[in-house]
Symmetry: C2
Subunit: 285 residues, 2 copies
Amino acid sequence: MSEPLELLENYRAFEGWQKRYRHPSQTLHCPMTYSIYLPPQTNTAKKAPVVYWLSGLTCSDENFSTKAGAQRIAAELGLALVMPDTSPRGDRVPDAEDQAYDLGLGAGFYINATQAPWNHHYQMYDYITKELPTLIEQTFPVTNQRAISGHSMGGHGALMVALKNPGRYLSATAFSPIVNPTQCPWGKKAFSHYLGDDKESWKAWDTTELILSSADADNVPILIDQGTEDSFLKKQLLTENLISASKIKHYPAKIRYQQGYDHSYYFIASFIEEHLRFHAQQFDA
Amino acid sequence: MSEPLELLENYRAFEGWQKRYRHPSQTLHCPMTYSIYLPPQTNTAKKAPVVYWLSGLTCSDENFSTKAGAQRIAAELGLALVMPDTSPRGDRVPDAEDQAYDLGLGAGFYINATQAPWNHHYQMYDYITKELPTLIEQTFPVTNQRAISGHSMGGHGALMVALKNPGRYLSATAFSPIVNPTQCPWGKKAFSHYLGDDKESWKAWDTTELILSSADADNVPILIDQGTEDSFLKKQLLTENLISASKIKHYPAKIRYQQGYDHSYYFIASFIEEHLRFHAQQFDA
């Protein structure tokens, strides 16, 4: 158990509540902050299914909360939204020596590090898939129906988490995800530090590799939106690699290029309604 | 004329465009930054009416652009949104001696200062009502139909600007506005610095006073939302003073208290759709 919870912020929003909490994480060995949106249906006795949102490099729990405009549609659909932070935090948590934005603080990549000095704190996969859902489901009026979404590094996280946990997450969607981290500079840098030199061990955290090794029975419904004017598309995100892997495995992922959109939260805001409706369809199925 | 315009940012959003520009302001004697949302209807030859948004203390053109979720409904309704900054800017622009948040930079109050050292740069009323609309209407595919909204100090600005310019603005709405600045600490501080000690001269910039001196023919449609849990309500915003004045003058302002909401952008996001639909009704009338 991760008590006590400390309520940091509390806002009425779309007749529900936008809240921000701090709690001591036993998995990450540090205090962690997360945001949660509880839809108006939970004001009475009703419980809501939960969509987890994983943010990208440099982000915290607040980017999606303040910029995506997701609460409106979550209120309409009766979905809770949970927004965790992107890495362990605090003075005792190791960071990149040069404080680079793509390693260490703000760049946990949602994996379990095996290498020192990272492995004591950087266990984001266990935090996201175990400690946090347990805390959320014990604390708030929510069901154990879960879906997961994310952006960029968080899009990698959402797809990877869902593919590794068929059944625990009913669906996954992503904006501008890093789909093949073992093959792009961001992923290679992070994985080499967190996981070491054995590149075979990297594959367990790579969406494209997980699709290639998936069995038909494991299919998780997936929706991905990728902007054509995203400056990271060709070098870091490698969307075409996932499209190829999905074709090889006949994996029914919906992967859409959106003309003229970039890597920003204006892109996310433009299509978040469709992603939440996609999740709601799975919850209702 | 205020050429040249410098395009600082450009994002696809809801099939329209969210842009940010810098231009040299002849009224304020400094470079000014503003944001504009052009709805998808303007991608073809169609022109859009414009809703101006005036932000509150400490804000810039970016708060509303990134946090309000207004572009979605502006896209649906075919409205352009223009978000100016809240004061003149730059090293040569005077600020409060103690850099207080409620005077000087970020706190222009949308009035024309008459007192030194403020009067050279702090001519926000002329900028908002003359220079900026002229620039917008000469530069972008928009009509000369205008409406105006704002939050807190910007709610004061929106109401005051519309009441002083019947016919130039078809409607005005406000979130958590300072409705009687001549009677609250924020307003008294700003007006005494910008306008001097003659309190009679303050009344020309005060919404409640403008309502009390209005003629029936001048009625501008007004919608105001005010959260009941707004920590500034009793001391700074003084909503009841405007309700009383509207009753005395039989002014048909719609003033709504929203239960449980505070002064934040989550409040604005929750009701911005109703405000934009209110403006669209006037444009269509």
